[in-house]
Symmetry: C2
Subunit: 265 residues, 2 copies
Amino acid sequence: MSHAAKVVFVSAGPGSADLITLRGLQRLAAAEVVLFDALTDPALRAFAPQAEWVNVGKRGFEHSAKQGEINALLVQHAQTAAGMVVRLKGGDASVFGRLEEELEALIEVGIEAEVVPGVTAALAAAAESQRPLTRRGRGRSVSLTTAMTEDRELQAGKHAATEVFYMAGRQLPGLQRRLLAAGWPASTSVCVVSRAGCADALSSSHSLHELAAASLLHQGRPTVVTIGVGATAVTSLAQRKSTSTRANPEPRLKSVVLPATALQP
Amino acid sequence: MSHAAKVVFVSAGPGSADLITLRGLQRLAAAEVVLFDALTDPALRAFAPQAEWVNVGKRGFEHSAKQGEINALLVQHAQTAAGMVVRLKGGDASVFGRLEEELEALIEVGIEAEVVPGVTAALAAAAESQRPLTRRGRGRSVSLTTAMTEDRELQAGKHAATEVFYMAGRQLPGLQRRLLAAGWPASTSVCVVSRAGCADALSSSHSLHELAAASLLHQGRPTVVTIGVGATAVTSLAQRKSTSTRANPEPRLKSVVLPATALQP
């Protein structure tokens, strides 16, 4: 990995400035220019006061006609800056971050890049809700998916013991329909976390047939939806015994536990 | 998320100390005791010189009879320490980190926990090889899997556009057989990265039918194997045209590109 790369893609983690890596901070501190997305924490500016900060305006899951403009801006700054250009991206650059398009644009003009990994939203959501994505003997795989296709259609399947969907909070009713159609039982545990990793993160816990009701709570916020084994609460043996008659016991979630009817209009 | 939790699970990231998050560093700096795994970077000690560092000895993907002992140690320190106990884990605690068992042990005795997310090896491997795990219009899902079952059997399927296997470098021949049996074409791109994120990280690039040969290169090192769309190199349009007659063009990988015969005995 070259440390003299002209452009460094720095994964900022989801939302909160303190979820960036130490390596990411070091690259920021050495940057001449920082091109940043709307989803990265403004508090990160304090770590690169020497740099010119350029807002490229893109938001996480909006279908963006602007990707071409961002590529052009990146190339332009890389060709004119004397020092290092940091491209700061929310979450992890390699997961739903359009990294391929921006790397391609640099390759076209022969500019070398480095990629600094980061915390992707699924991991922050799992930490926030204290629900590990993998479970011994029951969950050996986890799938990260964006439910929205290029044609703005929702798709969802049933491919792994645990699936995590990156999406907008308003899409939950559509996701519920798709997940039921894909064969997930109505009683399957679902955990919804919006603004995972941030101080105002919100978790809610549902059975799949109640998922749609959560959209009012998470609307307008970047949201990850976890379904399957990894969405179940971790409980003690004693708690498991005492709650075994309930369909979806959630004794440990510190945040909101929504009853099916709480948010229905 | 409580910041006064007695036990904080801190995800250290894969191998290299500078892949820990700022939040993780802050928790380390406030720790009275740090219980750490063999896979975390010793350089992290410099960030918590005030703490007692306890090696719990577990290595990433070894089947460990010691999990019960680790749980007991964690509870014992949490019950006797006056201040914060940090449980430092390699990679991200929520992905193949046995977090469930340790959370359960704390719940049994009523001790509150916090989880700080981190960089999981799949993300570090994607950054290292500059091969994004998701691709616009072609790769909307990525699956993270440990190929090894509890019975020490290798399993592999074909569930997502891109699949990442967390494993030992010596298991590559078995994985090749399983992936072919699962229906992946022999010409599918595979990217193997061992010690991702570390200074001595090693990447190699293969077609699936050549994967077994990579085991000599990666033997004895924690390894992630990426197959599918996310394992292909990012190339310029011109490069794609000029290499379109090659089965598996890899013009950008900075590390080792193995020919099929290079490492066969």
